[in-house]
């Protein structure tokens, strides 16, 4: 959250000094977005570590996360290398988009693990679910941008609204839900039981 606030201040500074259409703003926007996405990916990995802490699988989770991050980077690089001559700048955008989708899949797997392991911590459950909603919205928005390039500006504006969801829901989870609160995760599964 601190990194997000710092990046927002930096973006505002560059926006006011160089303008919205300047190359400086575009570069700063996408490079900082990639850093924030990697930060979110690390936050997701720490959620994995919380869920699997009793199994002592923290090192395995860290190793797997690093491997997946490198794999996603290599995949993004291969796509960019074939499709564009502006490799570095295109790579940054591509990696950011792919990491959102990988993050979504990983959050889905984490949610399945929570249901399977009968994790009961309300705060942890709400943090994972709100992260899932956030990443789904982001991945859907990126996909729509690629499907309808003419409506690009609309989908970019939507991202700003979607971006509010995670800080609000996480703030609620940390401030309003007591750490000792518990719930039965089986009650939350979508299929009627």
């Amino acid at each position: 959250m601190l990194a997000c606030a710092a990046v927002s201040i930096g973006r505002f500074q560059i926006l006011s000094s160089h303008g919205f259409t300047s190359a400086e703003y575009v570069y700063f926007y996408y490079y900082s977005d990639l850093l924030l996405t990697i930060g979110l990916y690390c936050a997701l990995m720490s959620l994995y570590a919380h869920v699997f802490e009793e199994m002592g699988a923290e090192r395995l989770v860290r190793f797997g996360a690093l491997l997946l991050l490198l794999g996603t980077s290599a995949f993004s690089f291969l796509i960019v290398e074939q499709a564009s001559n502006k490799i570095v700048s295109r790579f940054v955008v591509e990696l950011s988009q792919n990491l959102y989708f990988v993050g979504l899949v990983l959050t889905y797997v984490l949610w399945a693990a929570i249901l399977k392991l009968r994790e009961t911590r309300t705060r942890l459950i709400q943090i994972v679910l709100s992260l899932g909603v956030y990443l789904s919205l982001f991945a859907a928005d990126y996909a729509l941008r690629n499907l309808y390039p003419s409506q690009r500006s609309l989908f970019i504006s939507l991202l700003q609204v979607i971006g509010l969801f995670l800080p609000l829901t996480w703030a609620y989870a940390f401030w309003r839900l007591p750490e000792e609160a518990r719930m039965a995760p089986a009650r939350l599964a979508v299929a009627p039981r």
């Binding site: 679910l129 909603v133 859907a140 939350l188």
Partner: protein, 133 residues
Amino acid sequence: MMASVIFVVSLVCLLQFFVSYCRSVIAASAKQPLSQEVQDVTGLKNSASREDFARVTQLLHLCPERPEDRNRVHAIGAYFSLLGVLRATVARFIPSLREWTSLEQGQCAYFVAVALDRRIAFSRELLAQQMDA
């Protein structure tokens, strides 16, 4: 092609996470008892039915908003509407699903009643602060 696949997968995941998130929000308030005052105003005790939702929501809008619960009330309102769509379409042919949507919508109504209880307490606090000042 790839973008379409990502879009469909994202939508399916979004639906799954959104429903589970709403259920977690509802579950967190399901155990809270209603104050006698709210029980008298709404006519609810330990549970609510789907028919109560509109009435309790109207009562909720009469109270000053608490910034903390605004988003959750909107999310549960959207979840209630989603269940309504499900009930009017697929659930018409599946009785067990129809029963489940009714139960869920009743829990949404109970959540709104708990939110109403909190807003009344919040209004009281505000009034007390103004009186002190």
